[in-house]
């Protein structure tokens, strides 16, 4: 059974506790340890195996409290979550057809509406003709793409889903550099990657969590129902999180993986999309890189944070002098989709392999445990998936280009005859099937000399807006 420390030396945290309401703490409040770490490293010249993975380039400091505004349901959210936008994203598997659909939407609705609403010098019949012409070209575009390009894009989708085992090993190695090529003799479901995790070709499907919220901003409902804290927030008003106790008077306990800290590292892009929080990202205390932790918490004895290969709860962490570490709970944020609609990647602080340390590494979601319905278990995952390397991302970009080439090729190859056919056929169809013809304008009087001078012939060169 896990032992919980109910007494802490709160006086040692006084400096940090006194800043609940500030947006970004000032330099005194931020715990900036990287410079000290560098000095220590230089003084003691200890070998550090971690340095090869985590860059020391950026100054790192803990941001005690990330203030977030309450999420409100906006029209933009409704649109993004709605069926129309979802359908459009599904349709993007057939890019040519999507383009034709967007064109059709414009040609059938927007353009005719514009032509009819803002008539030019032309008469009504001409406007109708121009509108019908626009509508026809939109329809021809859709029919053409369904007949010509869509079968090819369907084939590409099918091949990506079902025909990977039939590709040459040399191609597979290039397309998916993470794949352990030795395992491709086995059935596809048993393919492994080089990290010995189940192989997943989807590099974009990475581990994310709900953007963590500071404990003082989380609703009581979430704290009690999702995190089982059994707390009365009214009774805790004005108190530091370090002093929070549950309804039974016991110090609150949050699971290790649910505890997040915000760290600002110079030169690192923030995934939070919050004003005033450039270079700030969240890290789960369960998954945070040991070396990274050492840099931001130099007093911590990193040997004490693990036992039998498992990360221990901060209650058991120790300082270098052997005394309890007493983690400042006032800098803890927790992740729940009940509190936010924003997702953020699950970073550890390790840098992406193949970069110069300017990007954090993200992880594939190929190891996430699934529940009985086949859905990934809710909340922060226990195990990290395969680290996404720059090589994997480059290969994915090349694969994307390849897919687009193959999808667009039939459309590009037939574009010239289709355009020529459209020019010839649309006026004919409009005239003979719909009975629409461009009106012949009444003759316009022009000044002409008896001896006709070519320069004085005036010809209307207007081209209709169509």
């Amino acid at each position: 059974m896990m032992k919980i420390h109910t007494t802490q030396n709160l006086s040692s945290l006084g400096r940090i506790q006194s800043t609940n309401t500030s947006t970004i703490p000032n330099d005194e409040i931020r715990l900036n340890y990287s410079e000290q770490m560098r000095k220590q490293k230089l003084l003691h010249a200890q070998p550090d195996s971690y340095e090869s993975e985590v860059s020391f380039k950026g100054k790192k400091e803990i941001v005690k409290k990330v203030i977030t505004a309450a999420d409100k349901e906006t029209k933009k959210d409704k649109f993004l979550r709605g069926r129309f936008f979802d359908g459009a994203l599904d349709l993007m598997g057939h890019e040519v057809l999507t383009q034709a659909c967007i064109s059709a939407l414009i040609c059938i609705i927007l353009r005719p509406a514009t032509i009819m609403a803002f008539p030019t010098k032309k008469n009504k019949q001409d406007n109708m003709y121009a509108s019908a012409h626009s509508m026809s070209s939109g329809a021809v575009g859709i029919v053409g793409s369904i007949l010509i390009a869509t079968p090819f894009s369907k084939g590409i989708k099918y091949a990506k889903k079902n025909l990977l085992p039939y590709l040459k090993p040399s191609i597979l190695e290039k397309k998916h550099p993470q794949l352990d090529i030795e395992t491709i003799k086995k059935p596809f479901s048993e393919w492994k990657d080089k990290s010995k995790n189940p192989f997943s070709p989807d590099v974009k499907d990475t581990l994310t969590v709900a953007r963590p919220t500071h404990l003082s901003q989380v609703s009581e409902e979430t704290l009690n129902k999702q995190f089982n804290l059994n707390i009365d927030l009214n009774a805790m008003k004005g108190k530091s999180v370090n002093e929070w106790v549950d309804r039974n008077g016991k110090k609150i306990h949050i699971d290790l993986k649910d505890m997040f800290i915000a760290v600002k590292e110079e030169g690192m892009e923030s995934s939070l999309h919050l004003k005033d929080y450039d270079n700030v990202n969240f890290f789960s205390l369960k998954h945070i890189d040991e070396g990274f932790l050492k840099e931001i918490m130099p007093d911590l004895d990193t040997a004490s944070i693990e036992k039998n290969g498992k990360r221990l709860h901060p209650d058991f962490w120790k300082k270098k002098d052997g005394t309890p570490y007493n983690l400042d709970m006032d800098m803890i944020h927790i992740s729940s989709y009940r509190e936010t609609k924003h997702a953020t990647p699950l970073y550890t602080g390790a840098k992406r392999d193949g970069t110069n340390g300017e990007k954090y590494c993200s992880y594939q979601s190929n190891t996430v445990e699934k529940d009985k319905d086949g859905l990934p278990k809710e909340g922060v995952p226990d195990i990290l998936g395969t680290p996404v390397t720059q090589k994997m991302l480059d290969a994915d970009k090349a694969n994307d280009i390849c897919d687009k080439w193959l999808g667009w090729l039939p459309d590009i190859a037939t574009r010239i005859p289709i355009a020529a056919g459209t020019i010839m056929l649309i006026p004919w169809i409009l005239k003979h099937i719909f009975g629409l013809e461009k009106s012949k304008k009444p003759a316009k009087p022009v000044v002409e000399t008896k001896e006709i001078a070519p320069a004085k012939q005036e010809i209307d060169t207007r081209k209709a807006v169509a």
């Binding site: 993007m92 590709l167 193959l406």
Partner: protein, 248 residues
């Protein structure tokens, strides 16, 4: 202390909070909607997929030169995405056909041909520049929207998992490919909107004006070169043909 698993609490009770976000969520839970555009593929559709997959996609994927060319293009520093380049290429080809047809149209006189050809050329070049510019300007916005979309979908999965696990599973399974398509959709929508709407409505009148100016300048030159004999003698009003060309 034992922390209870997230799956064990009552999800319906989670959304009793009166915040607008939770109110919207609770409404959605009560009336789960079927996923859109996701009908079961017909037998014919499945057959088409299989045939084109086996005899086109697989064959193409297995070509080393295609893979190598894709890798080279991925490494190149050309701005914009492949979707945008393909949309532009398609537009260039279409405009070329229109220009070729115009230049060889015997029903038009030389001046008309010139005006129309300029129009069609500009209707290709200006929107291309505009589309690339707009697409690069809204790249950051697209990225933000993509992150927001991901969050919204993850949130949707979190609240649907107890209510409609099948739908939640479907959303989860398609999320990776949808995120991949997100940037392309925004780029394609920007390009198509500019090419198919911005061009005819905004660029055509400008191109016409430019063509008219060029013609007027040419006429003025011709006038200047005309002998003085051509100065006005007797004038009379006479109707003349009106050549107007309708182009899509």
């Amino acid at each position: 202390m034992n922390v209870q698993g997230l799956n064990s609490y009552n999800l319906q009770a989670r959304y009793t909070n009166k915040s607008p976000l939770r109110q919207a969520e609770s409404t959605e839970i009560k009336t789960p909607q079927r996923p859109s555009f996701k009908g079961k593929e017909s037998k014919f559709g499945a057959w088409i997929s299989k045939i084109y997959g086996k005899y086109y996609a697989k064959w193409m994927y297995n070509q080393e030169w295609i893979q190598n060319a894709s890798e080279k293009m991925a490494k190149s520093s050309i701005p914009g995405s492949m979707t945008e380049h393909m949309a532009t290429l398609g537009s260039v080809l279409t405009s070329s056909v229109y220009m070729w047809k115009t230049v060889h149209n015997k029903d038009l006189d030389a001046d008309n041909r010139k005006t129309l050809a300029i129009n069609q050329g500009l209707c290709c070049v200006i929107p291309a520049i505009a589309a690339y510019t707009v697409a690069s300007k809204i790249k950051g916005l697209n990225k933000n929207l993509e992150h927001l979309y991901r969050g919204l979908k993850e949130q949707q999965i979190a609240k649907l998992r107890k209510v409609d696990s099948e739908k939640a599973k479907m959303i989860k399974e398609s999320l990776g490919s949808k995120l991949k398509n997100f940037g392309s959709l925004m780029g394609l929508a920007t390009f198509t909107l500019i090419y198919r709407y911005g061009t005819p409505v905004l660029v055509t009148p400008l191109a016409n004006k430019l063509g008219d100016k060029l013609n007027a300048r040419k006429k003025a030159k011709q006038m200047a070169m005309q002998p003085a004999v051509n100065t006005a003698k007797e004038v009379e009003m006479k109707p003349t043909a009106n050549n107007t060309k309708q182009v899509a």
